[in-house]
């Protein structure tokens, strides 16, 4: 799967194909010539220290940020050009929970479903992430773990075919991690393409056979994720 820089034109699958992707903030390139591909239904683990460009990469792929150089394609479509269409299929679970503090868990899901014109069984969704007993309590009173679960439920509203997980396991207790891991497994079985950025290499490696390490806005290593584990995170 790991494509060499000059063979990108040969990649013809309908998954995520990223070529030479670069993004600057002001005068600084925070992502420089990032290239990789994830076949449909596969998962890729992205690791690296804080500030290495993981979050920017995921935000570019979520069409939250414009790509300044290079390209990203998903399902054969250029992601920035076709962002209006792709936003229906792509979901980002980021540090920002995208939740409304004054609303309850169910109300949050309800307003997001209404705003997207989506119809889902909200109670089943709440049960799936273990928030069925929160009642009318506003999100303001939630713990970090509960917020993360609710943010996950919100992402699931939309049945995404490409999911970008930015540190989904941080600030979670073991039970919360198990919930997120369960949802991840379910999404993989449903055929979604997944990009997973995390510091929890062991859990990540369970879902993704392939991994890449980033440093200072570049990819410095690509390979099977078991190599990442056997080398203690520094292959």
């Amino acid at each position: 799967m790991a494509s060499t820089p000059d063979s990108h034109n040969a990649v013809v699958h309908d998954g995520l194909v990223v070529h030479d992707l670069s993004r600057r903030f002001g005068p600084r390139w925070v992502l420089a010539r990032v290239g990789f591909d994830v076949p449909p239904g596969d998962a890729l683990l992205v690791v690296g220290h804080n500030g290495c460009g993981k979050t920017t990469l995921l935000r570019c792929l979520a069409t939250a940020l414009k790509i300044h150089h290079g390209s990203a394609r998903f399902g054969g479509l250029d992601m920035w050009e076709n962002r209006a269409e792709l936003r229906h299929k792509v979901a980002l679970l980021s540090h920002d929970s995208h939740l409304y503090e004054d609303l309850s868990a169910r109300q949050n899901l309800d307003v997001w479903a209404k705003m997207g014109g989506l119809h889902k069984d909200l109670d089943a969704l709440l049960e799936r992430v273990g928030l069925e007993h929160t009642g009318k309590r506003p999100v303001r009173a939630f713990s970090a773990g509960m917020r993360r679960r609710l943010a996950l439920a919100r992402v699931l509203l939309k049945d995404p075919s490409l999911i970008l997980f930015d540190e989904p396991f941080s600030a979670l207790d073991p039970a919360g991690r198990a919930t997120v891991a369960g949802v991840l497994q379910e999404l993989r079985e449903r055929g979604a393409t997944i990009l997973l950025s995390t510091h929890h290499h062991e859990i990540g490696a369970r879902f993704a056979d392939q991994a890449m390490r980033m440093k200072e806005g570049r990819i410095v290593w690509k390979g099977p994720s078991h190599e990442l584990l056997s080398s203690g995170g520094h292959p």
Partner: protein
């Protein structure tokens, strides 16, 4: 149709948020109440109060609207929900019209709650009829909400923004303050020269221009990635 539905969903979300935390809109109301008291102290005598009642109501409302508009966008910024909407995707037009509609409704609500207070404190002549008065209030609040929503979206995302919202908004809404104050005062006094219609036409024109143009401008600022 989906655009209308999504706009209504955004408005519903805003109103539900206010309903769940009513202290915010109550704060805006009491802010305005305090202003009404203070304006009276700035006048040389209390006989003048009945003449300026209409204008004071709208000036107070304008100042209060900067608070409520600011709050409405702070809620969106708290957990990055504004970006969440862009990526959901909620079309920027639906975001704008939904939020502007909710803001207009909230402002109308505050105006209606303030009107009895203005009557009690400023004892204006009341020769008008209620439906026309409500029409003026609705037009004025809609006219404040459209440019206000756009400008609040700009200012809340800018650094050091607290003075920016009024600075950008007040010049835009000068016509609203002029027309709504004049229409209210003339209507309450009985409108002998039948000039109220002119002012209401001006408010309608302002609304048409801003509700059309501001929506388009909002799509440009929501898209800048």
């Amino acid at each position: 149709m989906t655009l209308l539905k999504q706009s209504l969903a955004v408005a519903y979300k805003d109103l539900l948020t206010e309903w769940r935390q009513p202290s915010r809109i109550a704060g805006v109301f009491f802010f305005c109440f305090a202003l009404l008291l203070l304006f009276a102290f700035a006048m040389p005598n209390t006989q003048m109060l009945s003449d300026i009642a209409g204008g004071t109501l709208w000036l107070g409302l304008l100042l209060a609207s900067t608070r409520s508009l600011d709050q409405s966008f702070h809620l969106e910024m708290e957990n990055g929900a504004l970006e969440g909407m862009v990526l959901w995707p909620v079309p920027p037009l639906a975001m704008f019209y939904g939020k502007a509609l909710a803001n207009a409704l909230l402002l109308t609500l505050v105006t209606l709650a303030l009107t009895p207070l203005v009557v009690v404190l400023y004892h204006p002549v009341w020769n008008g009829d209620i439906p026309t008065f409500l029409g003026i209030v609705a037009l004025g609040c809609l006219a404040l909400a459209a440019p206000g929503t756009l400008v609040a979206a700009l200012s809340v995302q800018a650094r050091g923004s607290s003075a920016l919202l009024p600075l950008l908004m007040f010049p835009l809404v000068v016509p609203v303050v002029v027309a709504a104050s004049k229409a209210t005062t003339l209507h309450l006094e009985g409108d002998i020269m039948s000039q109220v219609d002119d002012w209401m036409r001006l408010l309608v024109m302002f609304n048409l221009a801003h509700w059309a143009l501001d929506g388009w401008l909002f799509t440009r600022i929501a898209e800048d990635g």
